[in-house]
């Protein structure tokens, strides 16, 4: 008898708690300041908006393939995973502990960015999270970001992701500062038609980010695949030092020199030397990886 292959469990469709439960080693998770403590947003009531007992983020400790890690998971179904005062402070506190424990961190991103109803507190929280991330990384702490949630990873959330030592993404993952609707609202539908889903994927989706070296690992939309990706990402170089930053400067300058006048994702992929770039969005995970891995840009340790 062979054991049955477990059915894929969509990362995109899963809740933050569901993702965590199947990402970590069974029974290893301990939550800090969980919903029983009822640390609610002090600001949402003014807008007559419902609050949530965990303020849309779960933080705690667990194990991944036997290795202890600290984890944070954003809930994209609550306020679009947006970062407010309590939400942000929970992540900042976790990162302060990570630096002192020299413990690696895995962040399950699912966020539209700053929570506008408490915009000033959220904006500053993101700055504090970035500083705490960099301080921890300077001690050699690995910071792995997982990108495949329903709300994407936008705004200030995308800047936090940009400070991680390694990123894992699925095709459904979207990583960008300004979201499609924001660009369309400010610059017009000619600049960005937010209803053109194919354009969204080509500009900020997982395949494009993987091809230009914006992320390090590409996985299918499956919790087990994200788990394998997180385990692999925890093996990648993490130390943030002057050499890494000089490499990153060079890497990003080369990207602009090579692709800076391209107007569409397909043009970038053609310049990478990929055959039939227009067909890339249709490829399944393994076919895409086979092709992409021969030609893609890689960040290596320049992150």
């Amino acid at each position: 008898m062979t054991s049955p292959t477990p059915l894929p469990r969509s990362w995109y469709e899963e809740s933050a708690r569901g993702r965590l439960a199947h990402l970590l080693d069974a029974g290893s998770f301990t939550e800090f300041l969980g919903p029983e403590r009822r640390e609610l947003s002090p600001h949402l009531a003014l807008f007559n908006l419902p609050r949530q007992f965990d303020d849309g983020i779960i933080v705690g400790a667990g194990a991944l393939a036997g290795k202890p890690v600290l984890v944070a998971a954003q809930e994209g179904r609550f306020m679009g995973g947006a970062i407010g005062e309590v939400h942000g402070a929970k992540l900042t506190g976790l990162l302060h502990a990570a630096r002192q424990l020299k413990r690696d961190v895995v962040i399950l991103f699912d966020t539209g960015g700053v929570r506008l109803q408490e915009a000033n507190a959220g904006e500053l929280a993101i700055s504090e999270i970035i500083r705490a991330t960099l301080d921890a990384r300077a001690e050699g702490v690995r910071m792995v970001g997982l990108l495949g949630g329903r709300a994407g990873c936008y705004g200030g959330g995308s800047l936090i992701a940009g400070c991680c030592s390694a990123l894992v993404i699925s095709e459904q993952g979207r990583l960008s500062v300004s979201g499609p609707e924001v660009i369309e609202t400010n610059k017009g539908v000619e600049e960005f038609d937010s209803r053109d889903r194919a354009l969204v994927w080509r500009t900020m989706g997982g395949k494009h980010r993987y091809l230009i070296g914006g992320v390090d690992l590409f996985v299918g939309d499956d919790v087990a695949a994200f788990r394998a990706g997180a385990v692999a990402a925890l093996e990648r170089p993490a130390l943030l030092d002057p050499a890494a930053l000089a490499s990153e400067q060079g890497r990003l300058e080369r990207r602009l020199a090579r692709f800076g006048d391209a107007t569409d994702g397909t043009e970038v992929w053609a310049r990478l030397g990929l055959p039939h770039p227009a067909a890339l969005p249709d490829l399944d995970t393994s076919a895409f990886l086979t092709l992409a891995n021969t030609q893609r840009e890689s960040a290596d340790a320049a992150r």
Partner: protein, 240 residues
């Protein structure tokens, strides 16, 4: 205040600062012993990938120098440039890289002082002014996360309702006083006094770890952040 007046008041002993494409670059002499490196974003420029990389490159070059010259970052920007090309090229990586460059300069012994004298917003604010080791502002500065009309679209509340709420709850409303209350801004400088004296006084205080959450609690603009962060840190350390 305009950049020329700010620089004259900061550096009565002289400065050389050039402007190109909305970015400032140069040096100023605070006193006979102290030269200050100057970078900046001016004229409400919206930084995209090109501007962020140019700023980061200059800042990393300063960070590599062994001298301890302070770095002053003058900020009058828009939000990040909102365009298809910037996102295609990975603006999130580039803005994060700029924040890392400032962090590295501070870590390497160059005090990084952000001076917000105009606007700044959203991702641009996070990657420039807020990424400096110390942030000060001049009256008339106008930081915002998002302007009220855009916020009205997202929150589905009218501008009138938002304006009314802003009067009682500054935590979401644009403006210097509201950001100051959260702890984001260390000091608001007095333009009637020489800015050079105020910069010298700031440089005379030691660089410290991030104390913005405590400041927000003291000022009453962000009452929960420090307590929550400390409690999670305590629980995580106790768990080990």
């Amino acid at each position: 205040m305009r950049p020329a007046d700010i620089l004259s008041s900061l550096f009565p002993a002289g400065h050389q600062v050039g402007e190109a494409g909305g970015l400032l670059s140069g040096t100023g002499r605070l006193d006979p012993q102290t030269v200050v490196d100057i970078v900046g974003i001016t004229g409400k420029t919206y930084p995209g990938v090109d501007e962020a990389l140019a700023l980061a490159g200059r800042i990393l070059a300063i960070a590599e120098r062994p001298d301890p010259a302070p770095l002053l970052f003058l900020v009058d920007s828009g939000s990040q440039r909102m365009s298809r090309r910037d996102e295609l090229m990975g603006l999130s990586e580039t803005l994060a890289h700029l924040a890392k460059a400032l962090w590295q300069a501070e870590r390497a012994g160059h005090r990084t002082i952000g001076l917000l004298y105009g606007g700044s917003a959203a991702g641009a604010f996070i990657a420039t002014a807020l990424a400096c080791g110390s942030l000060v502002a001049l009256p008339g500065a106008w930081p915002e996360v998002m302007d009220l009309p855009s916020m009205a679209r997202v929150t589905k509340l009218s501008v009138e309702v938002l304006t009314e709420k802003a009067g009682t709850t500054p935590v979401f409303a644009p403006g210097l006083d509201n950001l100051f209350a959260t702890g984001a801004i260390a000091e608001i400088w007095d333009p009637a006094r020489p800015l050079s004296d105020q910069l010298k006084a700031l440089l005379a205080t030691p660089a410290t770890a991030d104390g913005r959450a405590e400041l927000g609690r003291e000022r009453g603009g962000r009452l929960k952040a420090a307590t929550i962060a400390q409690e999670v840190e305590r629980l995580a350390l106790a768990h080990g």
